[in-house]
């Protein structure tokens, strides 16, 4: 579905991504793990058109995305649930969700999806009129994911959804990721919580200082010694 070939990204003089190639097949959950500064967010940003690719290609169902504006990329069916949630604090839960559906014109479809999203996240349904800024961290993360779903994406990219959340909430988030995937959404997941990510992923890539150093099915990476040492904590 999404094919990234030899992607290079520069921030001024910094070579953030040095030739990254990633394939995301339709209907799979793919995860990108790595330490801070490895280039995970840069990858997502360049897919969304928020960061300029200095070289390489990003093809979505055969269409080249590099150089296209973010508004177009969103309408093609790719959505990013950003790091830190970035929900709109001054707007109600429902307004946030409607903003997710901003590019859509099908009123009936939007209302149907709204109902589905409230079923997925009953906590949000209780808080329809609450302003986003008054929600707890976990609720904000749910809102951010729900808002992404309102775009009716084919590919949903999530940047560190477990960041700053209590372990129980993290469990909820990951079971929701599985639920969304069951509904036909392809998922690209970026996580520092490598264990949870690899447990839920079909395939994984390990990123280190701008390059892919390891890739393989999620289960294989979980049992890989190098991955264990670097990202899963030394076995006590």
């Amino acid at each position: 579905m999404l094919n990234i070939k030899d992607l290079h990204v520069h921030y001024g003089g910094i070579h953030a991504l040095t030739g990254v190639s990633i394939d995301i097949p339709q209907n799979k959950i793919v995860t990108l793990i790595g330490a801070n500064g490895a280039g995970k967010s840069s990858t997502l940003k360049s897919i969304m058109g928020l960061a300029k690719a200095s070289n390489g290609s990003i093809k979505f169902n055969g269409e080249e995305l590099v150089g296209k504006p973010t508004t177009q990329i969103v309408t093609k069916g790719i959505v990013l649930v950003p790091e830190g949630r970035r929900i709109f604090p001054n707007m109600t839960v429902e307004e946030n969700l409607f903003l997710g559906a901003y590019t859509r014109r099908d009123k009936d479809g939007i209302n149907k999806d709204l109902k589905w999203v409230y079923e997925l996240f009953p906590r949000l349904k209780e808080r329809i009129w609450q302003k986003g800024g008054t929600l707890s961290g976990g609720e904000q993360q749910m809102l951010a994911v729900a808002r992404g779903l309102m775009t009716k994406p084919k590919l949903m990219m999530m940047d560190e959804p477990s960041l700053g959340l209590a372990p129980l909430i993290v469990k909820d988030i990951f079971s929701i990721i599985k639920e969304i995937h069951k509904n036909g959404v392809t998922i690209l997941l970026i996580e520092q919580n490598a264990k949870a990510a690899l447990e839920v992923a079909d395939y994984g890539y390990v990123l280190e200082t701008g390059a892919i150093v390891l890739e393989g099915p999620g289960k294989d990476l979980l049992s890989n010694d190098d991955v264990k040492k670097a990202y899963l904590g030394e076995h006590k």
Partner: protein, 297 residues
């Protein structure tokens, strides 16, 4: 002071406050969305009055057509100003875009002197506006009376657009979180242009009403009102539209109150705005309705 005179002053204060509110809205909207103080906003206000002036005197249009054209052309000019002077600097440090705004202001003012001539022109007032209405013991000119009414209508329409339409929702999103708004697929350029158009339209309405009330036009007429209305927006909380309206009325009513309380102080009426600014910055720098929001890094 007799009650009748007090009422007279109150009406004048509300009238002036409405004018200031209309102009302050443009400052606050643009700041909310771009974090830019559009120093050229007062000059856009001036342009509207001149467009109306020439529409009536040179093109011999009826007043209502002239006013409509002034609003439309001024909004268009606001969009052009953003494209030419601010959009190219969007990724530059904030000070650059501020300097551009100051430069645009000087440019418009001096182009005005060049094209319109520096000598004051008399704003043509249609007979319907010169009537004086007497209610009880208070005599009010039609102009003074319609100013708050027109302002109220404009504010109601603006409020509807911002709170009940998709575009308005996008405007609120962009002003809160520019990058997240992009992720929603919102066309940022369009929203910014729309904001400038709306703010300029408000300024145009204010300018036309101002021309009717104070019919002497000079190319530099936008400087003092522009400055005062920027102050009004700051007093109310820059970025907050309700705050801009509040600030406008505080300034307008306060100014008239000073002149009314002692004719000796009337020379200091402009100073009132600046004194108020200093007080607010010392006591509540985020403005009366502003929030203490930390800037998201």
């Amino acid at each position: 002071m007799s009650f009748q005179i007090f009422l007279q002053h109150l009406v004048n204060g509300i009238s002036l406050g409405s004018l200031y509110a209309l102009l302050a809205i443009g400052y606050t909207m643009v700041y909310g969305i771009l974090r830019l103080i559009n120093f050229a906003h007062g000059d856009i206000f001036m342009l509207a009055t001149y467009i109306a002036f020439y529409s009536i005197t040179s093109f011999l249009l009826p007043w209502w057509a002239a006013f409509l054209i002034a609003i439309i052309l001024t909004s268009a000019f606001g969009i052009i100003l953003e494209r030419a002077a601010y959009r190219p600097l969007r990724s530059s440090p904030r000070i650059s875009i501020m300097i551009s705004a100051i430069g645009a202001s000087f440019l418009i003012e001096n182009l005005g002197i060049l094209i319109f001539g520096g000598r004051p022109k008399a704003f043509p007032i249609a007979p319907i506006f010169s009537h004086v209405v007497v209610i009880g013991n208070v005599s009010i000119s039609v102009v003074t009376m319609i100013i708050p009414i027109v302002a109220a209508i404009a504010l109601i329409i603006l409020n509807y657009i911002i709170n009940k339409t998709k575009t308005g929702m996008a405007m609120r999103a962009v002003s809160k979180d520019y990058d997240a708004a992009k992720l929603m697929g919102i066309n940022i350029n369009y929203i910014i242009s729309f904001t400038f158009a709306a703010g300029s339209a408000m300024a145009a309405i204010g300018g036309i009403l101002w021309g009717l009330r104070y019919p002497q036009l000079i190319p530099l007429m936008g400087i003092m009102p522009g400055l005062k209305c920027f102050i009004a927006a700051v007093i109310g909380g820059i970025g907050n539209i309700k705050g801009a309206v509040l600030g406008g009325f505080i300034l307008g009513i306060g100014e008239i109150a000073i002149v009314a309380s002692s004719p000796a102080l009337s020379g200091y009426r402009d100073a009132f705005a600046f004194v108020l600014l200093i007080v607010i910055l010392l006591v509540k720098p985020t403005g009366l309705l502003g929030q203490n929001s930390a800037e998201k890094v």
